[in-house]
Each structure stands twice: as C-alpha cells, then as structure tokens.
C-alpha cells in the first residue's frame, strides 16, 4: 500500500475519532447545555429542609432555567440549610420572590423554583431570599395524612 493511501486512511480514522468525541461532548453530555451566563448575581436562601438538593442543581422560574445552585451548607447558628444561588443578570427578580425546592417529575432531580412576588425593589447581589418553601419529604407527608385521618375519626366527624 502506498504511503499516500495509508496516510489518507489514518487521516479518515483520526478525523472520525475526533468527530465522535465532539459528538459525545456536544450531543450526549451536558457540555453544551450547561448553564453559562456572562454576568450573574448571587443570592442566598435558608431552608428548613432541602431534601437531596445538590450544588450544581438548576434554578428555574416558570420552568425556564435562570441559574444554578452554587453551594449548599448547613448553618449551625440557626440549624437550617443555607444555599447560595447564582442567577443570570438578564433575569432580575423582585425582593419578595419565593424560593422552593421542587422535584421534576415523580422521581426526577430536585431543583430550586423561583416565584416572583410584587415588590418594586429588585434582588441585588448578596441579598437573602426571605420566603422559602422546603422540599416535600415523603415520610412527613404520609405521616401528616395518617395524622389527619386519625384526627377525623377521633373527633367523630365520620
């Protein structure tokens, strides 16, 4: 086999390998969809319970991704979970925005949902979101249902 044909085949092989790698990066993995904002602002929020929320989880508002959870820590002064959110500067939120830990689908990943309030003032870098809603813990939910049921039968309503 001549040198030129051999080089051609090796070139095709290497090019195909690199194309496969690029496809793996862009089409299969999150390298293309990962959240990249030019400018972002940081706010924090305190939760009684964040479920299994992890750093890197998405922050969504009305289903649109507006930021990412930057860090998750436990505050031993108040015994609450403190999370830091990085939000794209294109999306300003009012000061009385509610943050909730939600789950996508029945068993999907957990994310932070933001619901805008009606305040004139905007959230600024370093602000704290006051209104938060904890993650739903399945055991607590079942306990609540059982408790309500027992109360209903006990008081003789039914």
């Amino acid at each position: 086999m001549s040198r030129a044909t051999l080089d051609l085949w090796v070139g095709i092989f290497v090019a195909a390998g690199i194309v496969a790698l690029v496809l793996l990066a862009l089409k299969v993995s999150n390298a293309s969809t990962s959240f990249r904002a030019d400018k972002e602002y940081t706010v924090s929020a305190e939760f009684q319970n964040i479920g299994s929320l992890k750093a890197g989880a998405p922050v969504r508002s009305s289903g649109v991704m507006v930021g990412r959870v930057e860090a998750v820590s436990f505050d031993t002064a108040k015994y609450v979970a403190r999370i830091v959110l990085k939000i794209d500067e294109r999306y300003p939120f009012p000061k009385d925005t509610t943050a909730a830990v939600l789950t996508s689908g029945l068993l999907g990943e957990q994310y932070v949902g933001l619901e805008a309030g009606g305040d004139d003032q905007r959230l600024k870098d370093g602000d704290v979101i006051r209104l938060t809603q904890s993650a739903v813990v399945l055991e607590k939910l079942i306990g609540q249902v059982l408790f309500d049921k027992a109360q209903d039968t006990g008081s003789g309503k039914k």
């Binding site: 092989f13 290497v14 390998g17 790698l21 993995s29 999150n30 990943e109």
Partner: protein, 264 residues
C-alpha cells in the same frame, strides 16, 4: 509424603519467582520502550503506519460491535424501564453504560484480540526469522525502530476507537429505541444530556481507554519481543497476549472505576 509436599511447594515457589522475574523484565522493557520512543515521533510516518494497522483495520469490528451493543442495551433497557413507566430515560441508561464502561472496556477487549495479537505475532515472527538480530547488526535499534512505533500507534488509536464505539453504540440504541420502538427523540437526547456529565463521564471514559491502550499494547509488544523464536513459542505468546491483556483490562477497569466514581 513429605517429599511430595516439598516438591509441590517447590513448584509453587518456582512459579511465583518466575512470574516476578517476568514482571520485572516486562517493566524494564516498558521503560526501555518509553526511553527510546524518540524515533516514533521524529519519524512519525512509522507511527502513522502502525495507527493504520492497529486503528484503521480495527474499525470494522469496533463499529459493528458498537452498533450491536448499543441496540441490545436499548432493547433490554427499554424492556425493563417501561415496567416502571420511565421508558424515556433509556437514553441516559444507554449513554452512561457506554461512555463509562462498555465503550472503553469492550473496545479494549476487541482491540486486544484484533490488534494486540497481531502485534505479538508480527514481532515474535520477526524475532524467530532473525530480522531483529539483523537490524542490530546494522546498528538499528529494534526497540526504537520496531517496538516503539507499534506501541505508540496502539496507544494513540485506543481512545479514538473507544470514542467511536460509544458514539456508534448510542446511535445503535437510537435506531432501536427511537426509530423502531418510537420513544420520543427529544426525550432521548435531553434525558441523556441531563445524566451524562462531560468531565465525570466522558473525560473519565477517555482516561480509561488511554490506560487500557497503554496496558494492551505494552503487553502485546513485550510478549512478542520475549517470545521463544519458534513457531510454538510465537503461538503461545499470541495466546498469552490476549489472555493477559483481557485480564489486565478488567482488573484495571475495577481499580479505575473505584477511584473515579466512588469519590462522592
């Protein structure tokens, strides 16, 4: 009675010592190949030729196996996941299993059978027909001229083959799950992108395939160079290459997986 026990122990001892000697010999040979690999890069066309023999000629088996592995994964994954009503996530199952494990491991096993055995047989035959000695007589270093380019050609081909295997496998899964069964194509890709992380999954898979490439080619060239210069010796060396490198791939895979995915 005591005699039998002693001779049995002696046999065991001899085997262990022999194994250690070969391991040491192999390690020194490996270092020697690395030290003398300047030629492989200075005369790069030698390495390109070996990329052709190790990589390009392995393409057919890698691509065909990749498609079938992906299709089977898609079928099996769909069959089980639809019982739980989550047939959309079969995309992430196929992609994660291919990128993390099956891509690097199966591609390396096929590579050991297809290219590693050929390397051993070729170098072993060159030794048996005294071509290596002839080179030494002409003051050409056979390790730099023959072994080095083969080693680097294999090492360069392996990650590319593994990436191709994974990509073709995902395409095979797509054919079965999306085109034939009719799962939504948007859900297939978006669930996949949700689950597969570039750094943790794809880069780690590449690192794995690189390590396997080094292991397989190092074993193959060593077995060839070390083969007794007879027809029987070369055939035994070729068999040993396939067996040893397959075991090395599986063992290394466990160790690498333990380090890569047990971190968190």
């Amino acid at each position: 009675m005591l005699d039998h026990a002693a001779s049995g122990l002696r046999l065991l001892g001899a085997r262990v010592i022999n194994g250690i000697i070969r391991l040491g010999y192999g390690s020194r040979f490996f270092v020697l190949v690395l030290l003398r690999s300047g030629t492989s890069f200075r005369r790069f066309h030698l390495t390109v030729r070996e990329v052709y023999f190790a990589g390009v000629l392995s393409l057919v088996i890698i691509v065909v196996s990749g498609i079938f592995v992906g299709m089977v994964l898609g079928l099996q994954g769909y069959d089980t996941l639809q019982k739980y009503g989550s047939s959309e996530s079969v995309g992430s199952l196929v992609a994660l299993s291919l990128v993390r494990e099956l891509g690097p491991v199966v591609a390396a096993l096929l590579f050991a059978g297809r290219a590693g055995s050929a390397m051993t047989a070729e170098i072993g035959l060159m030794k048996a027909t005294e071509q290596l000695q002839a080179m030494e007589m002409m003051a050409v270093d056979p390790i730099a001229r023959v072994v080095g380019p083969r080693f680097w050609g294999g090492v360069l081909s392996m990650p590319l083959l593994a990436a191709l295997f994974s990509m073709v496998g995902i395409f095979g899964g797509y054919l079965v799950v999306v085109v034939t069964i009719g799962v939504d194509s948007g859900a297939w890709w978006s669930q996949m992108q949700d689950a597969v992380d570039f750094k943790n999954d794809i880069v780690n898979g590449l690192v794995k395939s690189f390590v396997f490439g080094v292991a397989v080619t190092a074993i193959a060239v060593f077995e060839g160079y070390d083969a007794p210069p007879t027809a029987e010796g070369v055939s035994h060396a070729t068999t040993r290459t396939v067996v040893t490198s397959s075991l090395a791939i599986l063992g290394l895979d466990f160790v690498l997986t333990a380090f890569m995915f047990m971190g968190d």
